[in-house]
């Protein structure tokens, strides 16, 4: 009697499976919306992101009514444009952030945000890291989240004001009543630490 050979798993698919397994729950839900238009998953995404996006906009100084509108449009795009989500390029949170940011800029300027056009004949392609060498984006973002959680609160606060709320370093110094140089050094320390922790993830 002949035994069936063990099914072989190539290292690549094994790695892909691990990645899928390790993906954060929001990215998994967004994947379900993308593939199956799963309403239950979208409801969960809405419950999670809608209040966060609204809070993010309010802290940028957008009045309540408008921030609600931009938030609602952000979530509408998540629902309608889920097909554009690519978990290899960005985690769900990063993708939602970029949609909200672009709508915010469009709203403030009343024109489209300037972004790279990937069909531009002038585009210089990135030949350093193909999809296989690059760390999967959701993996990287998970490591990043964990790393931010380990920062001292005074460093993560500076990151939050600069990255999420788009404040200039000088404005951060005024808001926190600390010297500009302290803002710079907290930012530098935080970024160094994040890069180190992500490399070891």
């Amino acid at each position: 009697m002949q035994l069936e050979p063990e099914p072989t798993v190539t290292p690549i698919t094994q790695r892909a499976a691990n990645r899928l397994h390790r993906r954060d729950q929001h990215s998994v839900r967004l994947e379900a919306v993308r593939k199956d238009r799963c309403e239950a998953s979208f409801r969960q995404l809405y419950d999670y992101y809608a209040p966060r996006v609204a809070s993010f906009l309010r802290q940028k100084g957008v009045e309540d009514r408008i921030s609600h509108e931009i938030m609602q449009e952000t979530m509408t795009r998540v629902w309608l444009k889920a097909s554009q989500f690519d978990a290899r390029k960005a985690s769900a949170s990063t993708w939602v952030f970029t949609i909200a940011r672009n709508l915010f800029v469009d709203y403030v300027r009343r024109r489209k945000r300037a972004e790279v056009d990937f069909n531009d004949p002038m585009l210089v392609r990135d030949d350093v890291a193909g999809p296989d060498v690059r760390l999967d984006a959701t993996e990287r973002d998970d490591a990043l989240k964990a790393a931010i959680g380990k920062l001292p609160p005074e460093q993560s606060e500076v990151l939050r004001l600069i990255y999420l709320h788009g404040m200039k370093q000088q404005a951060v110094a005024e808001r926190l009543s600390i010297p500009l140089n302290t803002v710079k050094s907290r930012l530098r320390l935080a970024l160094e630490k994040l890069r180190r922790l992500m490399e070891h993830a």
Partner: protein, 221 residues
Amino acid sequence: MAQYHPSEDLLAGYASGAVDEQTEALIAAHLTFCPACRRMVTEHEAIAGALLERESAPSASVAGVAAILNASPSRAPSTFNEPPLGTLSKIAPQPLARYVYEKTGEADTEGLNWTFYGPGIKRAILVGDEKGALVRLIKAEPGAVFPDHGHGSDELTLVLTGAYRDQTGRYATGDVQCAPAELSHQPIVEDDGVCFAFVVSEKPANPKNITAKIVQRLIGR
């Protein structure tokens, strides 16, 4: 491959949507030429995304999600009309060509309002006026020498075609020169091609002193 890049602060500002529109257009154009800076921006966006998860979150409204799920599927998100882009898109990446088009209504390089700036050098002012140009395109013939000038404020120059040199280095397509307010320089365009550049400053560039101003006028007339 670009050798000179915008500062990390500027890239972070771009990622968080905090820079003004002319700087945004300049950075998006540089990113078109520079994969390394694109990776940096992606990293900054990932930091912002991770921070978004840490925002405080009261509960979401039930009506809000229902409104989205019950909307008719034909409702497409609003899109902006893409302008028809002419010869401008031969010298400028799309986001910059679009910016120029939005400011001037011109899609062709030839249609811009070019004015004399020095021998072999013309400029088209997009924001500001002759006395205080804040945003402009520069077109310099091969071998052209700029008037020696100071800045009075920080200035960003993105080279689109050709190349120029000054005491700080050689700047070619895709490079961004970040000239601090205190820099005084006299860029010289290389011999082998027309140099188009996009320049953004916070305040108008000042000719170095009154003598330079007079010399500039004499040359000009």
